[in-house]
Amino acid sequence: MNREFTADLKKRIEEITARYPSRQAALLPVLHLVQSETGFLSAEEERAVASILGLPPIKVREVVTFYTMFTRKPLGRFHLQVCSNLSCSLADGERILRHLQAKLGIGAGETTPDGKYTLTEVECLGACEQAPCMMVNFDYHGNLDPEKVDRILEELK
């Protein structure tokens, strides 16, 4: 299951690593790049990145599994990330998550069968001032309540 990256992707990886003092330092941007190309990071991509950067594969695994912005499964078209960390919990972010689960009929970490939505429970999104909050793909939505969530979902259609 050895994955070969395309020559173009390899070239772009080398461009990134050239900007860093060591190849290991380029791990995050390289993973972002690979994910943007392949959609998600499977074990094959982990292995390929480790081999290109000369790292033990475990070093890639620990980074990929640590950050929620890296995904190891294919995502739906809209990635809904709901924060469950301190500020959002105090502002009942749990309610937002429950609402979405009921509405979409999926649990956290799952994708709707039509491949449209993926729901993820995440740690702090760095937007505590607008708790409870969530991200839809790369956009922030704060001060949420179920009605506001419904409106946001309407607009996605």
Partner: protein
């Protein structure tokens, strides 16, 4: 400097954490993530302390002692904080037994045995009684837990050999991750996921077998809980006693602690204060001692061949037969082949018996085919005297390391330390090994072709400069002349490296000092072996490098010193070894392993071994010898370190120590001078006669005693070119062999590890 810990004045030397300083003064601070061999992690926060003049609390493991520091390690508020932390840790660790009010009397009344799949409490945990978490709980004495218990319900990883991983017992202290990365350099484990989802995982979630694990067991030894458990002890209770010994599997001489249960070995773990290994071991020392010593191939009674089959018999009959056959054979038709895995006492008596008892000149042994033996041969021919007592720990201080072939595991750890401190490692030849992973370059030059490369490097390093007037080492003028005649093109051709690469290598050597040069038997054997050694020696002289031959068997160095004492000129031990295999002698006395042969090498062959090995196929008599765990003796490790060990368990069956077998045989033959009572008496006799041991005391176990080296001018260049007449290697050294036991074949778990690539 002086610091105050809980009103106690403590003297602290060097840079030391408050936690270490407290430990040394006998003050216990609860801690779960810190470990003496690891960089402070400050993860568990149990070791929080108050420091006068500082706000809040700080972890003792990550706070270094400063002169005049005043530290409080226990107070009501610290106790409260620690209990809260413990509460959180125990919310995800089976805790019922830890706070059970009847735990004191549980052991007496418990009627269940521990054969359960899942551990739900201490009484069902393999780590019961040796658990750091239990110690912390006993110290902090929580009377209640305040969080609902959560059982993680993770699948237990049982597919790997030797040990299991149970995430449900893991407290995520990270000791296993850090020892694997910081000390072992294997980086097999890591924290996977984040926050409450975190577990200890492997690369790509594969079994350890697929993850580059060496199965050294370091993670198991540092695990504070039962999350990592050795499979063979998981259903056993605590050992009856713990005995110290020296590992007999290789030349490093790691100190091991043998856990003994009802007279048998329960486990072998590396001794924390072992001067060579400092708490580390390899898969052999950590997991195979028990299997090897109690192996079904052990010979438990003397065997004598009758009608073509080996049959058990008594010692008197077996020794009587050997005595009669030896007495009926002319001395020059008898040959003796020693094992370098036997202690000095056995080797001394064996050689004394051959020389003074049998009066045969035909003495050989495994040690004659080792890297240090080849070095000594080459040195004697060139009249140079390289030092042999190089310290393994000095390797870590090097800034560039040239490794020829593979190295033993503890040497590998020192190399890894050096590389971590910024050194460069260049590996030449050898097989795929853990060291390759931290190498800057792996030059796959075929064995025997190293001479040209090394001479080329010497030539570039020497430049065009002329020898300084008389100030240089002996032989310098001749050496420079030799270099002038040498063509770099030859080095380029035989190494396959472009000239520019050679210059880069020389730059590395020039810029980074000190250097360490290490070589194994593959580099030293075969055509060109001695020329390789001399070329490397010259380069080491030019560069003031540490120069270490890597012997493999546990007592190669001791065997060489003893062999040197009993040697009387030609033919050499190597030639005799060849003749033995060639069938030149009528009667043979072989200790341990001989290379596999097609037919019997002699009319009458006696094998003294602990196992029924390959040599047993043709043996007429097999005399059962003890293993290192069952006997008293002395090894000399690759540094020349004298390592005394005592028996940890009684001998299996009727096995006897090697020296005792020979003394009994000499007695049966009516030979005088072999009436030794104990191994210590043999050592005393040896210390009186063998120069390297002169004046050394075998009875005292001193941490640092080294055999003596001849005081001779060693700094001299020499010139030697490869010659084709040297025959191919006779003896293939296998690190997984102990006497007649090929562990990678005969022990299933190691077979899985070695067979798995």
């Amino acid at each position: 400097m002086k610091i105050t810990i809980d009103h106690l004045n403590v003297d602290v030397e060097g840079r030391k954490s408050v936690l270490d300083a407290a430990r040394e003064s006998g003050i216990y601070i609860p801690s779960l993530c810190d470990h003496p061999r690891l960089v402070p992690f400050s993860g568990c926060r149990l070791c929080v302390i108050e420091v006068r003049g500082r706000r809040g609390v700080v972890p003792a493991c990550g706070t270094y002692a400063e002169d005049g520091m005043v530290v409080v390690t226990s107070s009501p508020s610290l106790q409260k904080m620690r209990l809260q932390i413990l509460d959180l840790i125990l919310s995800e660790h089976p805790s019922a037994c830890l706070i059970c009010r009847e735990k004191e009397t549980c052991e007496d009344h418990k009627s269940t045995i521990r054969k359960v799949g899942e551990v739900t409490g201490c009484v069902l945990c393999p780590n019961n009684g040796r658990c750091d978490l239990q110690t912390v709980v006993e110290h902090l004495k929580p009377d209640n837990l305040h969080f609902p218990a959560l059982y993680r319900d993770q699948e237990i990883h049982r597919k790997d050999p030797f040990f299991e991983r149970n995430e449900n017992l893991c407290i995520l202290c990270g000791r296993c991750v850090r020892i694997c990365h910081e000390v072992r350099g294997a980086s097999t484990l890591a924290f996977v996921n984040r926050g409450s989802q975190t577990v200890i995982g492997t690369a790509l979630g594969r079994p350890l077998l697929d993850s580059g694990c060496q199965f050294c067991g370091a993670c198991v030894d540092v695990c504070p809980t039962g999350a990592l458990t050795e499979k063979t002890v998981k259903y056993e209770t605590l050992p009856d006693e713990k005995k110290a010994t020296i590992c007999g599997f290789c030349s490093q001489g790691c100190e091991l602690t043998i856990h003994v249960k009802q007279g048998r070995i329960q486990a072998s773990v590396p001794a924390e204060n072992g001067p060579v290994n400092r708490g580390q071991a390899c898969v052999r020392g950590r997991f195979l001692v028990r299997d090897a010593v109690h192996h079904p191939r052990r010979v438990l009674k003397p065997l004598v061949r009758k009608n073509g089959r080996l049959e058990e018999t008594g010692w008197d009959e077996a020794l009587g037969l050997v005595a009669r056959r030896f007495a009926a054979t002319a001395p020059r038709d008898i040959a003796v082949f020693g094992s370098a895995q036997d202690p000095c006492e056995d080797l001394f008596i064996l050689r004394k018996f051959a020389r003074e008892g049998l009066k045969t000149p035909n003495l050989s042994g495994v040690e004659a085919f080792s890297a240090p033996a080849r070095l000594l041969e080459a040195a004697a021919e060139q009249d140079i005297a390289p030092p042999l007592n190089g310290r393994i720990s000095d390797i870590a201080k090097s800034r560039v390391i040239l490794l020829f072939g593979n190295c033993p595991p503890m040497v590998g750890l020192e190399i890894h330390q050096a590389v971590k401190n910024g050194a460069r490692l260049i590996v030449v030849g050898g097989k795929e090994s853990p060291s390759i992973r931290c190498a800057s370059a792996w030059l796959k030059i075929p064995g025997g072709k190293e001479f040209d490369l090394l001479t080329g490097l010497s030539k570039i390093l020497a430049g065009d400069g002329h020898p300084q007037n008389g100030s240089g080492p002996k032989g310098e003028a001749e050496f420079k002349k030799h270099l002038q005649e040498f063509k770099i093109a030859d080095a380029v051709a035989s190494s396959g490296l472009p000239e520019e690469k050679l210059h880069r290598l020389v730059q590395l050597l020039e810029k980074r000092r000190p250097a360490a040069f290490l070589f194994n038997a593959t580099f030293a054997e075969g055509p060109g072996g001695k020329a390789n050694i001399v070329a490397l020696w010259n380069l080491a002289l030019q560069n003031q490098a540490l120069f270490i031959p890597l012997g493999l068997e546990s007592n190669v160095r001791g065997a060489l010193e003893i062999a040197a004492h009993f040697r009387d000129g030609a033919p050499s031990a190597r030639e005799i070894g060849r003749s033995i295999l060639g069938g030149a002698f009528k009667a043979l006395y072989v200790c341990g392993h001989l290379p596999r042969m097609e037919r019997s090498p002699a009319e009458f062959m006696v094998v003294q071994d602990s196992y029924l090995g390959d040599a047993g196929e043709f043996a007429d008599v097999i005399l059962p010898a003890t293993t290192f765990v069952e006997s008293e003796g002395t090894f000399v490790n690759m540094e020349g370190r004298l390592q005394k060990f005592s028996p940890a368990i009684a001998p299996s069956g009727e096995a006897r120590p090697g020296w005792r077998i020979i003394c009994d045989l000499a007695g049966t033959m009516g030979l005088p001078g072999f009436a030794y009572e104990a191994a210590s008496a043999v050592f005393e006799a040896m210390a009186k006669t063998v120069p390297a041991f002169r004046g050394l005391n075998g009875l005292e176990r001193k941490a640092e005693t080294f055999v003596q080296e001849p005081a001779k001018e060693s700094r001299a260049f020499a010139v030697r070119t490869p010659s084709a007449e040297e025959a191919a290697p006779l003896y293939e050294h296998d690190p997984d062999r102990y006497k007649g036991l090929a562990m990678s074949r005969d022990i299933k778990s190691l077979n899985i590890v070695r067979g798995h690539k």
